[in-house]
Subunit: 256 residues, 2 copies
């Protein structure tokens, strides 16, 4: 699996929990993070480079644990690679549509993911009568990275982004960015009636199904996580809690 940075570790955590028999390689392109504000073309080039690296490590399935890379590069990688490829968007879309009662649904994501239209397009393909409310939440990632998970400021920012959706009677929203699950509790406190879809959880479920269907699910206990990063810095404290209990065997720096 790969992500532009470390946000995808929320997906890794869910995968490790769901699939104790598998071994994981997590690639974080931390030297070029974030992909969110970059053009489709650049994101495709970076995703392609990262996938080639991972193929060199003999992976049997690729999870794109990054919404921006999924939006811009999923179909390209699916065409290019001979192994199954799974992005984080479709599992979230499926759960969103399964969860909504009134088909008024919200998409919370970075500016770039929203702009790509990837969520809206897939939602309307499956459910043309849905009303989709998009909201780019540019401050959520820095709030999480600052560790301001339950400050007054965070509540205000959540209000700022979500009030309009709730006024429009949206009943279910998908957290379309891997950092956002860390704000789930705060969002629930502000809007207890809103149903939240966590794409990390849904992607883990979908990966499990895909391994099964492709007949490549490991039957013997294995486990283990290798992490490759394009830049190792000491500013990764806020992710330590995510890494705790993941049995990471190595963290290595590589240059693409």
């Amino acid at each position: 699996m790969f992500d532009s940075g470390l946000g995808g570790l929320t997906v890794l955590a869910e995968l490790v929990r769901a699939l104790p028999n598998e071994r994981f390689i997590y690639f974080g392109d931390t030297a070029r993070v974030p992909y969110g504000a970059k053009s489709a073309r650049i994101v495709q080039r970076y995703s392609d480079e990262v996938s080639r690296f991972l193929l060199g490590h003999d992976i049997k399935l690729l999870v794109i644990a990054c919404n921006t890379a999924t939006a811009h590069a999923e179909s390209l990688l699916r065409k290019e690679l001979s192994i199954p490829v799974l992005g984080v968007i479709q599992p979230g879309v499926d759960a969103l549509l399964a969860g909504t009662q009134n088909r008024r649904v919200g998409v919370l994501a970075t500016r770039s993911t929203i702009k790509s239209g990837a969520y809206e397009r897939r939602i309307l393909e499956r459910e043309p009568s849905a009303r989709v409310y998009n909201k780019a939440c540019a401050l959520f990632v820095p709030l999480v990275e600052e560790g301001w998970i339950d400050k007054r400021v965070t509540g205000l920012v959540i209000q700022e982004y979500l009030s309009e959706l709730v006024r429009e009677e949206v009943d279910t929203v998908v957290l379309g960015c891997t950092h956002y699950p860390l704000l789930k509790k705060s969002i629930r406190e502000q809007f207890p009636d809103l149903q939240l879809i966590d794409s990390s959880e849904e992607t883990a479920r979908a990966t499990s199904r895909l391994l099964e269907e492709s007949g490549i699910r490991s039957q013997t206990p294995a486990g283990g996580v290798r992490i490759f990063l394009t830049d190792i810095t000491d500013q990764m404290n806020h992710l330590e809690t995510l890494l705790a209990g993941l049995a990471v065997s190595s963290v290595e720096e590589v240059q693409l």
Copy 2:
């Protein structure tokens, strides 16, 4: 001049105003922005690549319009290049020490700039008796990029970051990130007695002096701005106001 992205346009705006006889090349490494959370080594490599590109365009002076790049790569570039090199840190430090009455000074910057110690070291070199209060303000850049310049949330974030410094009787702070000048008005509203040093303004003044001293200041009216970016996206709206009136003759995408 170069910056990791577009924040350095605040410096460009001041330079164009101060030096109407010069021509400017602005290089924004937007495909790899931001440098702020990356390691010193990676920032040095990127700064080196960008400088080589600019030298190929026959520049006579290099302004590093990025605090992170100045912190990590200024001395390296000064050693390597045969033209004068000026970073954004020293001009801010000089103005900070000229401005303070009680030598209790604050540095507002990104996490990486603070961590580099570049401001604190230079302040104490010039004024060993100064008390330096560092504050990493990770949410300021995304607030500016969101265009939330004078929202209630912004006031709260400013309070969150600055209250402690003001309690410690800091009388002058330097805005040690090129995006921060856009929050000057909001900071003044929250803390009217705090003296703010704008490194973009100070860098323009220092550049003017350095051109003069090196005897390479243009005497005939010229002007004109060329912009090179490593990624052109359509998410640059918030900077259009900065670009207005700058007589930009071209914006080109290049790959390093």
